[in-house]
């Protein structure tokens, strides 16, 4: 199939090697483990494989078939047609990491532009070439802060408004470091109002405070006072963002963030059942040597022509080995390209427009749902495109009912916040028409009556 060898070529090659059969090339493998009989399904032709995959894909009901009000860290946005046309360029997707810059200027310049766009969007000065996703980028912020204080500051404060899965990944990543305190997100009766509680936790031993903007409940907080408090205590302040929201909202660089992380999925990357997505990581120039992952820098060639290279590679595991602070090697190159193409296509006006569409539609949906007897919208502070609805019945039951009418309901917050059982997190994007919103309202109403 993908092997071009003919029988005669094979025998010529064996002759050149000086062996009489392919088996002789495997004599160094202990005989007792050599050639296991693998019990695998018989090989399919491309035509058969295509049919089987098609059948499996069709067993799913997706956002194509359903009106989607589910977000919670992965969002249904419009992806302009040109994005995938660029991603399908063989020169981009079948290249490796740009280790040989003379034959990788396409990838390198695209990453340089990605870094520039991420800095512009977040209001920061340095961006790396990506992390695996928003969760691992958040965890790497923890590791960067740990090393920034040479392990001497051991308190890490996580807002309960940070995505629950990001907090879980943060804890897993930090579990190799002894005697750390990861606090701030303990179960609480009022998980949506946490600013004062976080402030009270900040002390001289605090390495990092992590908040989310807009937070997991969709709320937009003024984090400037918190940032100031963190800085007074000498700690670092990290903000998890949604890049679409930054089309409308003040960037964290303007209110004291030292590190900005987030998931770039909303920027032209399909939902794809959870991945591959894109981990955004930006920081201030003073921390450039502490940043994990690859960096592309501008330079010139022997003739003085502008070009790009991977730079500060001495920080990375290839050279530093066990002294490197991160092990990341392969990252999300092609997904960073997707975000770059997306932002180039929608541009300054378009991103603002998408953000505003999300905002207006979400607010309209929230107003309409708040009018239904039995439901209550908890968001009192400004919010972006997600909000919390207290429901008259368990969320799973409501969602099962909505599904019968072609609606993918919101996220069940009770899974992560014990005091928010029967609370649904609803996300609305530019993809939701007014008609879909009215339908959602109608069935929520009907369900409450049943």
């Amino acid at each position: 199939m993908f092997l071009p060898h003919t029988d005669s070529e094979r025998s010529e090659m064996l002759k050149t090697i000086g062996v009489s059969s392919i088996d002789e090339l495997f004599k160094d493998v202990p005989e007792k483990v050599r050639y296991p009989a693998l019990n695998l399904p018989p090989a399919l032709t491309e035509m058969e494989a295509a049919a089987q995959l098609q059948q499996m894909a069709m067993a799913n009901e997706t956002t194509q078939d359903l009106a989607c009000f589910l977000g919670a860290g992965a969002y249904n946005h419009y992806i302009p047609a040109a994005v995938d046309h660029i991603l399908r360029r063989n020169e981009f997707y079948t290249a490796y990491t740009p280790y040989q810059p003379e034959v990788s200027q396409g990838t390198l310049q695209a990453i340089f532009e990605y870094q520039s766009l991420m800095c512009a969007l977040t209001g920061m000065e340095v961006s790396n070439a990506s992390h695996y996703d928003g969760a691992t980028a958040t965890a790497e912020a923890g590791i960067m802060a740990y090393h920034n204080f040479r392990g001497k500051r051991t308190r890490f404060i996580l807002s309960p408004g940070v995505h629950p899965q990001y907090r879980q990944v943060f804890r897993t990543y930090m579990s190799g470091y002894e005697n750390l305190e990861i606090v701030g997100d303990e179960a609480n009766n009022d998980p949506m109002n946490y600013l004062e509680r976080l402030e009270a936790l900040i002390d001289g031993n605090t390495a990092l405070v992590v908040v989310q903007y807009p937070d997991f409940f969709g709320q937009i907080h003024d984090f400037a006072p918190l940032a100031e408090k963190v800085h007074q205590a000498g700690g670092l302040f990290a903000v998890v963002i949604n890049p679409i929201a930054l089309g409308l909202l003040k960037p964290p660089g303007e209110f004291g963030a030292d590190i900005v992380v987030g998931d770039g999925q909303p920027l032209g990357i399909p939902l794809s059942f959870g991945g591959p997505y894109l981990g955004i990581f930006t920081t201030r120039k003073e921390y450039v040597r502490r940043i994990a992952g690859r960096l592309v820098g501008e330079t010139v060639d022997v003739q003085g022509r502008r070009g790009y290279v991977l730079t500060l590679t001495a920080r990375e595991q290839h050279i530093r080995r066990e002294k490197a602070t991160s092990n990341i090697c392969t990252n999300q190159g092609l997904m960073a390209l997707a975000a770059t193409v997306y932002l180039a296509l929608v541009g300054k006006e378009g991103l603002r427009q998408v953000a505003e569409l999300c905002y207006h539609k979400a607010h309209y949906a929230a107003q309409r749902i708040a009018e239904i007897p039995g439901y209550r919208v908890l968001n009192t502070k400004p919010f972006f495109h997600e909000f919390v609805v207290q429901c008259p019945k368990p969320v799973a039951e409501i969602n099962e009912y909505l599904l019968d009418y072609g609606i993918l309901g919101g996220y069940d917050l009770g899974q992560d916040y014990p005091t928010l059982s029967n609370h649904m997190l609803i996300a609305v994007t530019e993809m939701n028409s007014r008609e879909e919103i009215e339908t959602l309202v109608e069935y929520l109403k009907e369900f409450a009556h049943d």
């Binding site: 019990n39 991945g275 501008e298 378009g350």
Partner: protein
Amino acid sequence: MTEPTLFELSSPGRRGVRFPEPDVPKSALPEGFVRKDLPLPELAEVDVVRHFVRLSQKNYAVDYGLYPLGSCTMKYNPKINEDAARLPGFALAHPLQPIDTVQGSLALMYELQELLKEITGMGAVSLQPAAGAHGELTGVLIIRAYHQSRGDTKRTKILIPDSAHGTNPASSAMSGYEVVQLPSDKRGNVDLEALKAACDETVAGLMLTNPNTLGLFEENVLEVTRVVHEAGGLVYGDGANLNALLGIARPGDMGFDILHLNLHKTFSTPHGGGGPGSGPVAVTETLAEFLPGPIVTILEEGSEEVPPLYGFKMPNRSIGRVKAFHGHFGMMVRAYTYILMHGAEGLRKVAEHAVLNANYLLARLRHVYHIPYDRICKHEFVAEGIWDDAPGVHALDIAKRLIDYDFHPPTNYFPLIVREALMIEPTETESKQTLDKFADALIKIAEEAHTQPELLKSAPHHTPVGRLDEVKAAKELVLCCWFPEKESQAA
């Protein structure tokens, strides 16, 4: 030609993709939170498309020619994989949908777990890790959790051969372990005596790459894993490059306890110019309870008429999540498609031809390039890119000169134990003709190194840019063409 950046191409007022006006009443924007300026470029769709097409043409790629980067397994990426991953049923599914709406995705993940178990001879698999290094971190944290669960807290070291990939020591250090480097012996195997001497009750485990990064099969593998087990340690397998072992030998049968696989190498998912990858972790049955989760499982057995109901479970003593959602599902679809199309026999052929190709190149080159560990290799081999009688020529020069011959260079300067390393991995998808042209080019370059070294030193000659000033890049650190200061000064 220098291609302007997106920011340089920008023209105020130009628009690319437009969106409809809101079909709902507008709400007041949040006061005090609205950003003043959004400094993004302004371009038309045609500007954007041409820009990226022009950039793409500055790249070398597998779909253009031979890309023999050692340790990277740059095999051809079947096109059906790309179409399969983009099927709307897969690409448009939200990760948090109710499980009964995503049985297709879950079935695929479950089956992939089962296939990988069979191929590797391991007991359980988590598909969550995003890449090889991520799998390593996961695996070392499992080693830690295992010892801790037994109250065995004195194990503080991980042993790593000096030929290992840099991610191995970095992953161990990130997991709180001290790294002890093991020397290689003359045949390129782990030095058994050194291993035995290092194995005591403070050893948590060994990270072993087999075939190792010299492309050599660890001839004493059964003895190595036995020694580590006897000392109470676990053996971690860096299976980033499993291409030579498919259907040939299973890590599970050789005594490995934990193994990561790079779907973006062995299982043909494309490298994307640096990712995304996928780095599933496989473990023995004993260690299954420590895997990161959730993991796809069968919740209700099926029958002849009804398919099983798939869902998620969290392993009992899981190290926790290592990633949001379920891992790189899009890459899983590609790898699954690849395995389906090969079957057992096809996978073994992949390994056989990967090894045939590497040995063929080795046979053609060993008279011209010094091979420090010269024996039958597996998927790759390492040559020295230097000659005593051609002073001043380095591996880097050979690499750059290869570009003039229209080939992508091999990996340079890794593994660290070979001086001026040229690490060559042709993969099974290259034809004899291509390999011959490549060998001819390398032989010619060896001659040039002795007769016209300046040709090598000044290479490459026909690329969009010549050799780049890396010192300047690191010193001036221009990492972004947009600066907040500039913007605020202008305002």
